[in-house]
């Protein structure tokens, strides 16, 4: 081992003359477990509060206040770590690697928002996640993203999720944390690239609602899936929808589904054919994407430190002197090159397997999207999309039924239903 000495070169002195006492180490301690557990308590309390504010109290103002608290506490005070978005990587590594010790705090941070999404929808995104709350606060003049672009960009988070799981499960690092744009802002330091990404996304977020949450966040994708089957859901109207269309344009995130009108029968037949084609396409898509995932996995494996080191050692052995620190250090440790190659092969095989699984996952996501686009669903009311709605409560006050419930003045000509 490097630096190990059989005996000290210069024997430590006795100090018989002065009787000098050796000073000890100063030991600044990390945050105690008590404070770690406090984070969990704050998270759960904030989740309950967010659920109550969106579903029962229906208060946008309360959510803004909670959002500011989350940005201050989870963001600036806790410096963005540990966060729920990143903790799914720890969980993935914990599931894949049996020797990986997972702190209970991380487990709760990863799973609690998911459980809440199954029950109440994406209340975590609304005001508990500091990333989401920060973007929500800077949104001043939302523009509508065209439908085709929105649908296309919304596939990115699923792909990102798949990639992050490959890297986390194979021990290749946590890319969600590495490329987190906002954590640099919370810490007020970081690489130039990530700081400029964070500032750029915030600037974009002034006009495009929550760009990170909608088009990048891998955890948001997961919560969206869970929210799709949630027990309770965010409702725009507290009572009955009167089809007044006042809420139609109010969602800055394009998450309000319009009520559908009857379609002519010819289009319906066309749609049926399209749906059949899409369902038949799915297995082909899975096969191609799975194969491609395997190839990509093999390429991605080069980012893993063991594979990277093995490749560099292989390139240099007997040909070029070790000018690179990692290879020079490896040779100084005197470890066997053969065992390094063997380890690298194991890691690369794991990457290929994970890449294939990721390919299948992406095919399922894309295929599922094509199928849902081909399905024409009848909707009688204006309602929040289960997957996309992040429960920000902006639309509530545009509903005349809600204004009536609150006893506020109602815009002229708005149709009303008697409260049931």
């Amino acid at each position: 081992m490097i630096g190990l000495l059989a005996s000290p070169r210069f024997p430590p002195p006795e100090f018989t003359e002065t009787g000098h006492q050796l000073p000890g180490f100063t030991i600044p301690l990390p945050r105690g477990p008590l404070l770690e557990h406090l984070d969990v308590v704050v998270l759960l309390a904030a989740l309950f509060l967010a659920a109550w504010l969106t579903l029962r109290h229906r208060s946008r103002r309360g959510l803004v206040a909670l959002g500011i608290f989350s940005v201050l506490y989870f963001g600036f005070w806790r410096k963005g770590c540990i966060c729920s978005i990143g903790s799914i990587q720890n969980i993935a590594q914990g599931l894949a690697d049996s020797s990986f010790g997972l702190p209970a705090t991380v487990l709760v941070f990863g799973l609690a928002p998911l459980v809440f999404a199954l029950l109440f929808g994406r209340v975590f995104c609304s005001a508990v996640c500091p990333h989401g709350a920060l973007q929500d606060l800077v949104l001043i003049k939302p523009i509508t993203v065209p439908g085709w672009l929105e649908q296309g960009l919304r596939l990115i988070p699923y792909t990102y999720l798949g990639l992050a799981m490959i890297f986390a499960a194979t021990g290749g690092g946590y890319i969600i944390c590495q490329y987190d744009p906002f954590v640099t802002l919370f810490r007020l330091s970081g690489s130039v690239l990530m700081v400029s990404c964070g500032i750029g996304l915030l600037a974009l977020g002034m006009f495009v609602g929550r760009p990170y949450c909608r088009f990048l966040c891998p955890y948001g994708a997961l919560l969206g899936l869970a929210s799709n089957v949630s027990k309770w859901r965010v409702r725009i109207t507290p009572d009955t929808c009167t089809q007044c269309r006042l809420c139609e344009q109010t969602c800055p995130f394009g998450a309000i589904n319009k009520s559908t009108v009857e379609t002519p029968s010819r289009t319906v037949t066309m749609d049926k054919w399209r749906l059949a084609a899409m369902i038949l396409l799915l297995p082909v898509l899975i096969g191609v994407s799975g194969w491609f995932g395997g190839v990509t996995g093999k390429a991605l494996a080069r980012k893993h430190r063991t594979v990277n080191l093995a490749e560099r050692i292989f390139e240099r052995t007997g040909k070029v002197p070790d000018t690179i620190l990692t290879t020079a250090v490896f040779r100084r440790t005197g470890a066997s090159i053969e065992s390094l190659y063997a380890n690298a092969r194991v890691v690369r095989d794991r990457y290929v397997l994970a890449g294939r699984l990721c390919g299948v996952w992406i095919a399922l996501v894309v295929g599922g999207k094509l199928i849902t686009l081909a399905i024409r669903r009848k909707r009688h009311d204006y309602e929040a999309d289960q997957t996309r709605c992040i429960a920000c409560a902006r639309c509530f006050k545009f509903c005349p039924q809600e204004l009536q419930r609150l006893g506020l003045p109602i815009p002229e000509g708005a149709p009303l239903m008697p409260p049931s």
Binding site: I2, F10, P12, F15, S98, G101, L107, G173, T184
Partner: protein, 182 residues
């Protein structure tokens, strides 16, 4: 819509059961206490990346001194430049780029070397000098009053000998000591 709600319920309960199963699987391995990052000083190669790769403006890695290993040398290779003009405390003779090490006379011929931590940038220049020619009593440690405990330490990601790992929060340091050398 009844049928749709039924299917949603089925999927929801299946997901909940799945999550529960995962939780049961993980909770047996889960640790009640958290972990923090720490450097294994015996693996450290003094590459200097600790000073630049930390996410903090001022690296959380600092040099610490294991006094029971120190030879209290008058010519300290962790303190002085390789070929100093004179063995005095003038800045041009010091190895530390920020002058973070100060020495006090104890008794002839012994000097005590201490680290002024706010000045230390964790560059490991002194560690390198001490390890190569001295007893190796100077070494790097992650200071937990500064470390924000990132989910993935950005220094660990690029550490050539892979010397940085998570340790239990109850034993947050890996100081060098004289016992380990024998």
């Amino acid at each position: 819509m009844k049928r749709r709600d039924f299917f949603r319920g089925v999927v929801r309960n299946a997901t909940a059961i799945g999550l529960g199963g995962m939780l049961l699987g993980l909770i047996r391995k889960a640790k009640a206490d958290g972990t923090v990052w720490q450097i294994d000083p015996w693996k450290c190669t003094q590459c200097g990346r600790c000073a630049t790769q930390c996410v903090l403006e001022q690296s959380a890695v600092k040099c610490v001194h294991s006094f029971d290993m120190c030879g209290y040398c008058r010519l300290c290779t962790g303190y002085f430049e390789p070929q100093p003009n004179k063995l005095n405390t003038a800045a041009e003779n010091q190895l530390c780029p920020t002058g973070a090490i100060f020495r006090t006379f104890v008794e002839d011929p012994y000097y005590e070397y201490k680290i002024n931590e706010p000045l230390c940038i964790g560059c490991a220049k002194c560690v390198s000098g001490c390890t190569m020619f001295g007893n190796g009593s100077l070494h790097l440690q992650i200071r937990h009053d500064l470390c924000v405990n990132c989910n993935e330490c950005s220094i660990a990601r690029v550490c050539p000998p892979d010397a940085i790992h998570r340790v239990p929060v109850g034993q947050p340091y890996k100081f060098k000591s004289r016992e380990e050398t024998t």
